[in-house]
Symmetry: C2
């Protein structure tokens, strides 16, 4: 039973992630090795990484290392995948990492056509406050805007010489000028904390962001005259779409929860989500729920229930048929309402203190 709680997401999807691990050459993530693993680490949502040992060593021996992530301010919502990234940052921040958050305004410009002014406004009004509301300790976080960071831009140009168009396409599947420029800036961002001093760094990402990690690692291997350490990375699974698809996506709004989103709308979506409940109550009581197919349980596991014992009880009650799908959904709705209220309130409070952020001052 314990085994199943660790990853009750369904064997089909598990196989997909197994394939990703194999195809991308990732390491399987073992939460037992890390001190105080967080919720998504303990539950197999964080499932893989690259070069994790050097990070583990840095944590245990209290050596300098960094965690870095980027905010892409292309609109005024974030999704649950972003929440998992922030939880990853928070974990390493609490375990000694120097924390860097960059605002990818150049990427927003070159890939989405968002002006730098608009990107800046969105980042300050929403994205940074949202990260704070999700648990980032701003007092310990260094922020910068790509567009203000000459070193990042200059290095992006130097790194561009190290890769061919075909190599780029092999990594990203496609290429266009805006995407190439954004990717080169990302490489420079990922290495930015090492510009002054070589040190380990970890980048928590959704698995679809791995191309940036691979490109960066390829370039580090080719920049012979500067001794960067290969950046490490940590991968979380997607939060599945409420209709059961592998990834929640705005292209199917009825199966996608945005942050923030009106709670009435969210509750309606949760109530309509793909369920593991049986067709009749009688059958449900007899067979119990097919939990591995239940998207609401997955949502609770990934995002809504912090306590393992509580989640375990819900799992057992639902699996045994004691708890109905309707009851499970109402628990989820209640927890989601609490989360969303706190999130919105947290954003409001963080906005008031936006002037206290540690932005890198550039000459």
């Amino acid at each position: 039973m314990k085994q199943k709680i660790i990853d009750p997401w369904g064997s089909g999807l598990l196989e997909d992630y197994g394939k990703i691990i194999k195809d991308f050459g990732l390491e399987i993530f073992n939460s037992k090795l890390f001190p105080e693993p967080n919720r998504i680490m303990r539950r197999g949502v964080v499932f893989a990484g690259r070069d994790l040992k050097i990070i583990l060593d840095a944590i245990k021996s209290k050596k300098r290392y960094y965690v870095l992530s980027g905010i892409m301010p292309s609109n005024d919502k974030i999704h649950l995948g972003t929440k998992m990234v922030v939880e990853g940052i928070k974990y390493f921040q609490e375990h000694g990492a120097e924390t860097y958050i960059l605002i990818a305004d150049l990427e927003a410009a070159s890939t989405r056509g968002v002006t730098l002014g608009e990107a800046r406004k969105r980042a300050l009004d929403f994205h940074i406050p949202a990260y704070v509301a999700l648990g980032l300790d701003v007092g310990k976080t260094i922020f910068y805007f790509q567009s203000e960071n000459k070193e990042v831009m200059n290095n992006a140009y130097e790194f561009a010489k190290k890769i061919t168009l075909n190599e780029f396409k092999a990594i990203y599947g496609s290429a266009d000028p805006g995407k190439i420029m954004a990717a080169m800036a990302q490489v420079a961002d990922i290495l930015y904390p090492q510009f002054k001093e070589r040190m380990p760094g970890i980048i928590p990402v959704g698995v679809d962001q791995d191309p940036h990690i691979r490109l960066t690692r390829d370039i580090v291997r080719r920049v012979k005259d500067r001794k960067f350490l290969l950046p490490s990375s940590l991968y979380h699974k997607y939060t599945p779409s409420l209709d059961g698809d592998i990834k929640m996506s705005k292209s199917k709004p009825e199966s996608c929860i945005e942050l923030p989103e009106d709670i009435k709308s969210v509750k309606k979506k949760i109530r309509n989500a793909l369920s593991g409940g049986r067709d009749t109550l009688e059958e449900h009581r007899k067979l119990g729920a097919a939990v591995e197919k239940d998207m609401v349980f997955e949502l609770m596991k990934q995002h809504l229930v912090e306590d393992d014992a509580e989640l375990n009880k819900i799992y057992n009650d639902y699996k045994s048929g004691k708890m109905t799908s309707g009851e499970l959904k109402e628990i989820a709705c209640g927890k989601m309402e609490g989360f969303m209220n706190n999130f919105v309130k947290g954003i409001g409070q963080a906005r008031k203190h936006i002037d206290r952020l540690n932005f890198v001052k550039f000459k």
Copy 2:
């Protein structure tokens, strides 16, 4: 006879340039329209342009306009084509243009792998002094390094969204990440003087640099929210290789004169150059020289003889057979020695005053 002096370069090559004018959609350059046309304008070396009328109007009505060019500090020599670009800049500088010279250190990094530090050193030690030695008035010239110009870099990212990879390839023939990033920076450079105020600008280039002009003009047409004027451009022909090929190139060092170059080496190359002289003296006196095939005469026309009457006399003497190929070459050697001595001396003097340059101060 006068007609032939205007362009005695040979009908074969003329046809090539006619094709370029047609294929690229250029305007034929008419030196008679411009006040005090310079040597290369008068002699048909400047042969085409884009949107020249707006520049002519600005000159005549003393309106604000700019001339802009870039220095690519990838090595410690320049070629005769660069000399012609500087002469183009000088012409417009003397006719009221605000003058911008950018150091394309990001391009040197992303396309040649030259570090920014090395690029800066070469620009200050050699390229800028060389431009001054060739006649640039530094007191009236605004300089900047691409790598210091955040506005240029930021705009390069915004502009990248406006073009697809296939469009880029159609303009440049090929694409790779370094080339794409360099090209986007060039577009931003070309428009930089218009960031604060819309105004006409002219970019004097060798015809092989036209892709940058086309890309910039395509992007200006797509940037609807910012009202840039389409930049104008001016094209000079190549200085032909001393063996008669259309373009002097370092890939054939025996037929290529670099600036600076040891005068003994240059004289040897001139003496070995493709000549329009006849096989025997008797034949030469009888038939006269085939001037249109003579690379040394072309060199004198493009670079070494300022005075039209003097060039005309040389042309007539040579064409009639009165002057031998050997005599022509010795005149060229003497003039080249004078030019090279002045050039080297000019560089030395300009280096002493490098601190007086007007570099844009960036925050």
